[in-house]
């Protein structure tokens, strides 16, 4: 009887140990989903996504309304296509909204800032799978410095 108890605990110990290993391998080292609330998908094309990553947050005025679900390259035009998962509680994003890649702090992670557009007659709302047309690419520091030096030379 005691021997069976020992065997049970040793078996459990080994299983939990391997479970910890696989958690580390798949959750910490590779991709995996953490939170799963209901979302719908929007898409957007950028010229340059900078350091944006899958699962980066999408914010409206600082409030997280969704996450980046995937980043692909358009096979025809060779521009990055970002797929956004927006929480279903934030419906009714106008078609005129604009999306820009921003950086949290000087050294921080990059995130997507969503600027809701105006709603007038004839402007609809974005539905699942729609493309956001108005996008602003990431600021790349080297390009900024290059532009700055170039404008200095003009003077």
């Amino acid at each position: 009887m005691t021997s069976r108890k020992v065997e049970f605990w040793v078996g459990l110990f080994i299983v939990v140990g391997f479970l910890a290993f696989f958690t580390l391998a798949f959750e910490v080292a590779n991709s995996g989903s953490v939170s799963s609330s209901d979302t719908y998908q929007l898409k957007a094309k950028f010229d340059n996504i900078g350091g944006l990553k899958v699962r980066s947050p999408i914010k409206v005025g600082g409030v997280v309304v969704g996450r980046v679900s995937s980043i692909d390259l358009d096979k025809v035009n060779y521009v990055p296509v970002v797929t956004l998962d927006i929480y279903t509680e934030y419906q009714n994003i106008p078609e005129t909204s604009s999306l820009s890649i921003l950086t949290a702090g000087l050294l921080g992670e990059q995130y997507l800032g969503l600027e809701p557009g105006f709603v007038i007659e004839g402007v609809g709302y974005l539905k699942d799978g729609d493309f956001l047309e108005d996008t602003k690419s990431a600021l790349v520091l080297e390009e900024l410095i290059g532009q700055f030096l170039f404008s200095q030379n003009d003077d």
Binding site: V10, L12, G17, A20, A29, V34, K53, V54, E109
Partner: protein, 256 residues
């Protein structure tokens, strides 16, 4: 004076030789699986399962403290999104294997030494030899393998629980963004470079700590004073060996 140094050196080398002979005797003794596997399982229970509580509680608290301390520094640079990789990398590369080895030496190593030492003091080992039972195979080998298998598993649990503790403090309490915490962590943690190197470290520490613990017990002076001295030596020597080897392994793995 010089004679004294020579005598100490010779006795040290002789001790090392005896320890190596004992280890080789235990590892390469012709195994009898039907008999030895139940013994190993029994020892994994004593050495591994009963160390679970201390490992999990310390892992949780170390992860939480790492997140809290890291946050107060990183927030000054607006880089609190790097909290995830900071917690994960320090646990996987260093604290997981090292702290597990230190706790293991204190929790299980000292117990191994005292147990084997008392067996020797009460002449159980001698009587086994009289009955033609090899004490290396019957007592030393199962304990060695139990430590060898248990400690890497314990180190993985320590790291996993510690990262969860870091998540608790960083995300739930201090309000670091959850997606950034995990996605930046996943972008920075590498399976082979970080997790596997941590695993190699914990295997090396497992061998060293169990070896020292068993040998100190097997080689102790069979009196109550001798056992207490051997137990102290186990904890001191294995802690020093773990910290020294950790530096060496870190230089080799992450040096350049």
């Amino acid at each position: 004076m010089i004679t004294q140094i020579g005598r100490t050196a010779i006795s040290q080398v002789v001790t090392l030789g005896r320890a190596a002979l004992m280890l080789f005797g235990a590892i390469f003794a012709a195994p009898n699986f039907a008999k030895s596997i139940p013994l190993v399982i029994r020892q994994i229970y004593v050495v591994g399962v009963q160390s679970l509580a201390i490992i999990i509680v310390s892992g949780l608290f170390i992860g939480m403290v790492l997140a809290l301390q890291g946050y107060t520094i990183l927030i000054d640079y607006g880089a609190e999104n790097s909290l995830g990789p900071m917690v994960a990398l320090s646990l996987l590369r260093e604290l997981g294997p090292v702290v597990t080895a230190l706790l293991f030496a204190g929790r299980a190593g000292s117990a191994l030494t005292a147990e084997i030492g008392l067996m020797k003091a009460t002449e159980q080992i001698t009587s086994m030899e009289m009955m033609a039972v090899d004490p290396l195979r019957r007592i030393v080998a199962p304990r060695f393998w139990a430590g060898f298998y248990s400690m890497p598993l314990l180190a993985f649990m320590f790291s996993a629980v510690g990262i969860y503790g870091g998540h608790l403090v960083g995300v739930e309490w201090l309000g670091v963004d959850e997606g950034s915490f995990w996605s930046v962590m996943q972008a920075n943690v590498d399976l082979s470079a970080d997790i596997m190197n941590g695993f190699i470290k914990s295997v090396v520490f497992a061998i060293v700590v169990t070896w020292i613990a068993i040998f100190r017990g097997y080689d102790c002076i069979p009196t109550s004073e001798g056992i207490s001295k051997a137990t102290t030596q186990t904890v001191v020597h294995s802690s020093l060996a773990v910290l020294g080897l950790d530096f060496l392994l870190t230089v080799l793995m992450f040096g350049e």
